[in-house]
């Protein structure tokens, strides 16, 4: 399966580890990416101030994917929802499409409505499937208690994502955690927003939202959190320290992109997965699951560990 890889703004600037791990994991899973240098901002940050420019920005990038004849794969959930929404709007609103195409014509482009937009984890879960993921596992994350944060725009608006997962009772990420040998942990506030989108307009409210979920995840006994969006990562990983200071709390909760956890289970080295770029230290936790670059002695130890049966899967009920 081949896709035009849409990185957006935040990943190359603030979350290289997501891109690194996504590319490595995709390779193992047989997903092929084509890079499109002209891809820009998806339009999401302009949505609240200018719907016309939002459509134009999305149409520009979508037209580049159309020229290549490829579906678009997003890593960022905000890019995912905005490109999917604008793609839908441009396909169904003829007047808008005409206006936008008049403008695109000035730079020699046209929106034709021939591509689609999918988030990487949706493709992995829905199109490749859990069995395919399990096949690639070399170092199962046995015993690792992981809280999945689905975030908002990975699941919603669900009508534009063909309801691939239930926004009221999401399962896809927990199922992937289980497929790589980890133990999905349920927690309060599972569906709560990270607050990232409010950060520019009201920092206190945004960080309050983030804290609320960190409290719940910590209380669940999870050892790590996993997520699929750089906005969410900014809130839970990059801002975790400042939340600890602001509210005089200690979390020390490692936060991983799902592709990092998958890569770890596939035996990809932590360096190649960009683990050193995570804000909250991951080293101790990763040491339990040896990667390719670790020495034989550690591998021996790991083999012994692997033979122990893990704890039974905790049912995921909200």
């Amino acid at each position: 399966m081949k896709f035009a890889l849409f990185l957006g703004c935040t990943i190359p600037a603030r979350s290289r580890q997501y891109e690194m791990s996504a590319r490595k994991v995709a390779e193992k899973l047989g997903l092929v990416f084509e890079d499109v240098p002209g891809f820009g901002c998806c339009g999401f940050p302009l949505k609240s101030v200018d719907p016309e420019k939002t459509a134009l920005l999305a149409a520009w990038s979508l037209s580049l994917a159309e020229e290549k004849g490829l579906p678009v794969m997003t890593l960022c959930s905000a890019c995912s929802s905005n490109l999917a929404e604008e793609n839908h709007r441009l396909k169904h609103d003829e007047k808008l499409r005409r206006r936008i195409n008049e403008k695109l014509a000035r730079v020699g482009k046209e929106f034709r409505g021939t591509t689609e937009v999918k988030h990487i984890l949706r493709v992995i879960h829905q199109d490749l499937g859990l069995a395919k993921i399990s096949e690639t596992v070399k170092n199962p994350l046995t015993g690792l208690k992981v809280a999945s944060h689905y975030g908002c725009h990975y699941l919603k608006p669900s009508e534009l994502y063909d309801k691939f997962d239930d926004p009221e009772n999401p399962r896809s990420l927990d199922q992937i955690v289980a497929a790589i040998g980890g133990t999905p942990v349920s927690y309060d506030r599972l569906k709560q927003c990270c607050g990232g989108a409010v950060l520019v307009s009201d920092e206190a409210t945004a960080l309050g939202l983030t804290k609320d979920k960190l409290d719940a995840v910590k209380a669940s006994g999870a050892e790590a959190m996993t997520l699929v969006c750089p906005f969410c990562n900014v809130m839970y990983d990059n801002n975790q320290k400042s939340i600890e200071t602001r509210f005089a709390i200690e979390y020390g909760l490692p936060v991983f992109y799902m592709t990092q956890l998958m890569g770890l289970a596939m035996g990809i080295s932590s360096k190649d997965l960009g683990m050193n770029l995570n804000s909250v230290k991951t080293k101790e936790l990763i040491a339990r699951f040896a990667g390719e670059d670790e020495d034989d002695e550690k591998k021996e130890k790991k083999k012994v560990k692997k033979e122990k049966p893990g704890p039974p899967l905790q049912p995921v009920v909200e």
């Binding site: 990185l7 703004c9 935040t10 190359p12 600037a13 603030r14 290289r16 891109e19 690194m20 590319r23 890079d35 240098p37 002209g38 820009g40 901002c41 940050p45 302009l46 949505k47 609240s48 101030v49 200018d50 719907p51 016309e52 420019k53 134009l56 920005l57 520009w60 403008k103 695109l104 000035r106 730079v107 482009k109 908002c152 725009h153 919603k156 608006p157 669900s158 926004p167 009221e168 569906k191 709560q192 927003c193 607050g195 990232g196 989108a197 409010v198 950060l199 520019v200 307009s201 009201d202 206190a204 409210t205 945004a206 309050g208 939202l209 609320d212 190649d272 960009g274």
Partner: protein, 161 residues
């Protein structure tokens, strides 16, 4: 016993406001609201900051309280998480209504500085964060393909609008 009843002063109401919202992209379904409060009960922001209350905002729109809705700044607390929109029993597109209200507030220059700053950056460089030579060196070192430092066509497209 004296009862305290909150009263709403409609003296300055603009009774065409709801129509205006209904004619704005995303705001079309404002009239579907029957004030059940599912949106406010579902809203994660409201749990943290009660200045934001979607049911109240929709009521204010229907009562024509234009100034209060557009100038008080609380529409900007909406995180666009879609919880309300997914659950509205009337099929009201509440997140889209909030976006329409943000668009109207922006048109009357009531926008948080940070939001405007991001918009300006995109117009200039085609992205919120520009990639420079230093970033590209780090990308190549990490085995990632280099990215263009700015995308001129986007600047050209957005300035021509």
């Amino acid at each position: 016993m004296e009862q305290k009843i909150e009263t709403v002063d409609l003296a300055g109401s603009d009774f065409n406001f709801a129509n205006e919202v209904a004619q704005t992209e995303g705001g079309q379904q404002i009239s579907r609201c029957f004030s059940c409060g599912t949106c406010s009960a579902s809203c994660p922001v409201r749990r943290i900051n009660d200045k934001y209350n979607p049911r109240r905002i929709i009521r204010q729109v229907l009562l024509g309280l234009k100034e209060e809705v557009l100038k008080s700044g609380f529409v900007w607390l909406c995180s666009a998480c879609y919880s309300c929109q997914e659950r509205c029993p009337q099929g009201g597109r509440i997140t889209d209504i909030m976006t329409a209200l943000k668009n109207m507030a922006a048109a009357s220059n009531c926008v948080p500085d940070g939001v405007l700053a991001q918009a300006d950056l995109i117009k200039k460089q085609g992205k919120v964060y520009a990639i420079d030579e230093f970033d590209n060196k780090k990308r190549v070192k990490a085995g990632l393909p280099p990215l263009p430092e700015e995308i001129n066509e986007i600047a050209q497209l957005l300035s021509a609008l």
